[in-house]
Symmetry: C3
Subunit: 349 residues, 3 copies
């Protein structure tokens, strides 16, 4: 009897420890490597986004859970917060800051995070939604669409501040995810759009002309998966995408996306964009080969074409080495080919 009690006591202590731990989970990843791009000197940079996060769930009983997540993004080569396209540091919790409830009804969250459209389509991209220029996720996969046109210059293209998210439960492999944002202005500069410099369509400080809205549906059925998504941003650009993937063999996964962006509401020209990306992942032991090719065609502009090859070698489930080579033609800033090479290490914690 005594032994049982002691065991229970110990067990209780252990469970107590585990419970105290589970309150906040500190997690993240650190990805750094050497990068060489056409026209730039050898630099140290990243391939994946770098995160340091804090998250947790609380069991409320009856299948209901409370959950929160706060995610810092940073640049490991300089130790700064993540730096946007304009060279300015982004907010502390660029990754996400959300709180919500999860239960039989699905999951409801409020705050800042990836839009459902962007969150879903990433699974159909051959470089698993890496922000690296070697991947397709931030440009060709989404037909050049951005979720945040009224946010400060340099903001990332796939998140919303001031939004509410709802994910349905998964029923027969089908899940629908939605989000809607308020019309609040997030501090961005004016968008000239169909106006003029003197009278921009969206002056600085302007609110959204419609509530940004995002929806995606996914279907997973054993080796096959499909998605269809739609999103409209604060200046009423719209994007539609479909994606599919097939695990043809245990080693080989094929995937593809087709996307279309409509910017008629805020552009006098170059308002219609279509893009497609085809890709494959091939796993061989601890190694994985990534390959993709895609095109983006905006009316009135040169066609953008990209071909990328990558290789990841896993040292463990949490750590891998990588090397990429990519070539992209037709960028407005550099219409001739830009080559991108990187080699580095990615460690999750």
């Amino acid at each position: 009897m005594k032994k049982t009690l002691m065991a229970v006591a110990l067990s209780g202590a252990v469970a107590g420890a585990a419970h105290a731990q589970s309150t906040v989970q500190v997690y993240g990843n650190l990805d750094a490597g050497l990068v060489k791009r056409t026209g730039q000197s050898l630099s140290i940079g990243k391939r994946a986004a770098n995160t340091l996060g804090f998250k947790g769930t609380e069991d409320l009983g009856n299948g209901l859970k409370a959950l929160f997540q706060l995610e810092i993004r940073y640049e490991p080569d300089t130790g700064t917060l993540e730096v946007g396209g304009n060279g300015v540091q982004r907010q502390l919790f660029q990754g996400q800051s959300r709180v919500g409830l999860q239960g039989d009804f699905g999951m409801l969250r409020i705050g800042r995070g990836l839009t459902p459209y962007h969150e879903t389509i990433g699974a159909f991209e051959p470089f698993h939604a890496l922000p690296s220029p070697a991947g397709f996720y931030t440009d060709l996969t989404v037909a050049g669409y951005t979720s945040q046109p009224l946010d400060p210059s340099g903001a990332s293209h796939n998140r919303w501040s001031n939004a509410v998210w709802y994910n349905t439960p998964i029923v027969s492999g089908v899940q629908v995810n939605t989000a809607i944002a308020t019309k609040e202005n997030n501090g961005g500069a004016a968008v000239i759009g169909r106006g003029s410099e003197a009278f921009p369509q969206y002056p600085a400080g302007a609110q959204a002309s419609a509530n940004p809205f995002s929806v995606s549906a996914t279907y997973n059925n054993g080796p096959a998966a499909f998605m269809a998504g739609y999103e409209r941003n604060a200046i009423e650009s719209k994007v539609w995408s479909i994606g599919a993937s097939l695990s043809a063999t245990p080693e080989l996964k094929l995937m593809g996306t087709y996307s279309r962006q409509d910017q008629e509401h805020n552009r006098l020209a170059n308002a219609d964009t279509r893009s497609w990306v085809l890709g494959a992942n091939y796993t061989l032991g601890p190694g994985k080969l990534l390959a993709g090719y895609g095109q983006k065609d905006t009316d009135g502009l040169q066609k953008v074409k990209q071909f990328s090859l990558g290789y990841e070698y896993s040292l463990s489930k949490r750590t891998y080495l990588y090397v990429d080579a990519s070539r992209k033609r037709g960028l407005p800033t550099n219409p001739s080919a830009v080559n991108h090479y990187d080699v580095g290490i990615n460690h999750s914690f």
Copy 2:
């Protein structure tokens, strides 16, 4: 014997784990909801301050402890650090950054944190010191007093940088808390005060004209509690308050404060302010009703009147839903009534 040893070994392992854990506790809360105010579009915001903190204590033996606490404040709707009244992000550890010792003598700390006056009076405010406009804490409860007039514009009103805190032990329900700050300038703009724009009373970069000083005394006696506090800031504004609360029944708690601010040292007019707030909390099962009414009367200015109702529904000890409705008249920026409504979720971790 062997079993005992094993149990001890296990027990040691568990204790070791517990010890390693206790070094740093990661804690915080995430509060987000929908907010609607007169004259503003529907937005996503907060009701409580949002925190992510790191704290710990170390047992030094003989009843002596070392302790530290670092507290980040952030905005969950956008993922930024907490934003001040001027729209600018505050410092990383806006909440607090303090280190100190605790023992039979009381507690001595150094760094940045809430002033004793502000820390104490919050317990006598019917919206438990929430910074939300639905509460009274940041304005009527303290007669409009600010602790940080020489800090950067947009700084919070209830903290000191560069200070030393001393809390007495609690003896017969009585505790006295004090703090004194250095005269260091904290980077704020000039304060014209009794000077002119050309010759401000406190030019930019000016040091405090007297060491900021804060003291409060509290008395807890079963269902009743009292407080009396005094504080003087860097430009020699002074505030006095008394507060009382009574748990009339297990469900009902009544409370009230009376405060007076003297700004003679740095104002040519509107230098004397008196305010009072009466409130009640009523608990019914997992729900709690919050109610308060108060007035602030500054000589020469329109009287400010506020009435607020709130309701909190606990899903657990760590998570609750809330809804508030509040009406405030006499604000300098909007003398007619401003209504404030919010509904949201607060999750502690």
Copy 3:
């Protein structure tokens, strides 16, 4: 049998808990105290750098480990990120942000951190490399050398962004540490150097004229230790140092450094600097006395002389109180003597 199983189960649970914990270790220290310097009012400041860090290692098998470390620096008196010499806040992970592998071959890391030269010489400085003006580390110990001349104004003087580090294993007490940085510009202002204001030697945005390179060798042999180091920065300033320490008795440790900086590449005058520091640490029970004297001689400038005394009283292995008194003559900003006094507490977590 059942008991054994239960014990194993418990043991597994404990081990699992320990493993989950070890993924990310949250650590740091908080150091704050009173500071009085000649010509300045009493202030609250720090003696040691203040850190809040996240680190971890992953066992990859075969003696190989992955490791990462992210280190925030902050000012506990105001709660801001660490503030540089120009009054501007530094990057979030000012301390370090590195990822790498460790094994029989040594340790290879990439990111941002202390240079090997600076990391090594600190062990031969009598105030254990404290950044406090009471110590010698940031000036006399390194002959006034800075590692980061092309970084933003106010950057610390002993770190590199965009670098790769390699540490050899320790063989017979000998270890060699090296690092090399890319030529990337880190956002600093122009360096006039041997140019003119109109045509600076390194214009704003200029890249390094040579890859910054740092190497140090250390030898530890029981009570004696030696080091020799060399480093070249982005504008080709060079520094050499030798250091030695001897634990003469269990209580007494003696140490000294001699350093020389060559700035011929970027200075028309005052290009050659020599410095030396002699110091001692004397331990008596929980107390430790620190003493040092040194000189820095730059050709064409007044000689700098510094004498410092410090005392640390340990309340535990993690917490100590300190008091320092220091006198420095010959500073360009104040050629007459500047006295520095501080008293405070340092708590590690």
